[in-house]
């Protein structure tokens, strides 16, 4: 299973390099079935094979861009006037692997974080957003139904059913076809992923934190105000009445 990792760099900050390195980027040699075949290499992050898409704003220095040159499958320049939601939508349009992982900057993780995350995402039935928890306050440790096993997996379910998106999270690429992209409405700025998770909930999916590993978030992301959150909730209620959660990507 291959995962597309979306990494958006919106400030010229060297922390984007070092927090990425802490996510355990490696190039590995693919095991060959036959002798004398050409050696094939593949890229891994957090213990899983990945394609890395990096979105960079024009204010990001050449040094940072150069660092990702051989690591990223594609470096996409984002126009300065674009909001992060618009930028992510550009990246999402290029996601064709089974899962999409959004990796924020200034997060530190255990080396095998993506393997853990993909295990839960693969096995939990109706998986929406699965995140690596920074904190589990206001969460309940509960079993959720699994796909293949006749049993349950225990996860941390947030009280408001949505996870914080300043941590790395994973979702199935199918969501981009069923729910579309993020809302680009600026009145919901900072709450676009919250809006997306609400749409996922009303589509019968579960958002949760995995219970096997933690993340460390250094810079807490600043969101504007509660009005944006309220707008996001109202907008989803409107979509619910119209029975359509799709936003064209």
């Amino acid at each position: 299973m291959k995962i597309t990792v979306c990494y958006l760099i919106n400030a010229d900050d060297i922390s984007s390099i070092y927090s990425f390195e802490c996510a355990n980027y490696q190039v590995k040699e693919r095991e060959q079935e036959f002798e004398n075949t050409e050696i094939e290499y593949y890229k891994t992050l957090g213990g899983e094979e990945v394609d890395i898409l990096v979105g960079v704003y024009p204010n990001v220095s050449k040094r940072v861009v150069d660092f990702f040159q051989d690591k990223a499958k594609e470096i996409i320049e984002i126009p300065l006037e674009y909001t992060p939601a618009q930028a992510y939508n550009i990246l999402f349009r290029k996601c064709f692997n089974s899962f999409v992982c959004v990796l924020p900057t200034d997060v530190f993780l255990k080396p095998n974080w993506l393997s853990e995350l993909s295990f839960f995402s693969e096995n939990v039935d109706n998986c929406g957003f699965a995140g690596v928890p920074h904190t589990v306050l206001n969460c309940t440790y509960s079993p959720v139904v699994t796909k293949e096993f006749e049993g349950f997996l225990n996860v941390f379910l947030p009280a408001n059913m949505t996870i914080k998106t300043d941590v790395p999270f994973l979702f199935n690429t199918k969501l981009l076809f069923t729910l579309g992209g993020l809302t680009e409405d600026t009145t919901m700025h900072g709450y676009e992923f919250y809006h997306y998770q609400l749409r996922a909930i009303y589509s019968g999916l579960v958002n949760f934190y995995i219970s096997s590993t933690a993340s460390v978030v250094i810079a807490k992301r600043q969101v504007n105000d509660d009005n944006a959150k309220k707008f996001a909730e109202q907008n989803v209620q409107l979509m619910r009445k119209q029975k359509d959660f799709y936003i064209a990507l």
Partner: protein, 144 residues
């Protein structure tokens, strides 16, 4: 090809400590949930033991959260220092190296430092580069 994950030893230790601490707190939270499993079928003695363990676990969580806040502050200051060092090195590296080469005839220690350094390793490892930069800077200041 196995690479280094964390930029330096201090950060590696601090991040690992913090993640382990968080995992420990998460496990305590899990214990609180799992303790109540099959509660109704337990004997009064077992139910009392569950209650005691719950109190102990909650107290432990509070203690660990305090420890966690200190570890987070520590990591935050370590990352600030590291990023400041990286910025400084990237800005003044050429100047300091040039100056050190000029002044090496004034100091045997400085000459020794410049001749014995592994330049390839410096280019690959930022922690070594920062360490070397500070050593050079210290020597240059002592000469002046």
């Amino acid at each position: 090809m196995m690479g280094r994950i964390y930029p330096n030893k201090d950060l590696e230790f601090s991040i690992s400590e913090l993640i382990d601490l968080k995992n420990y707190i998460f496990s305590l939270h899990k214990r609180l949930a799992l303790l109540r499993e099959d509660y109704a079928n337990k004997t009064p003695y077992e139910q009392n033991e569950v209650a005691i363990t719950e109190y102990e676990t909650i107290c432990k969580i509070f203690r660990m959260v305090e420890k966690l806040h200190k570890a987070e502050e520590n990591l935050s200051s370590l990352t600030k220092i590291f990023y400041a060092d990286v910025q400084e090195v990237s800005r003044h590296w050429e100047t300091v190296i040039e100056l050190a080469k000029q002044k090496q005839s004034d100091s045997i220690a400085l000459k020794h430092l410049l001749y014995n350094v592994n330049w390839k390793e410096l280019n690959e490892r930022i922690d070594k580069k920062i360490e070397f930069y500070h050593q050079l800077k210290k020597h240059l200041i002592s000469i002046q």
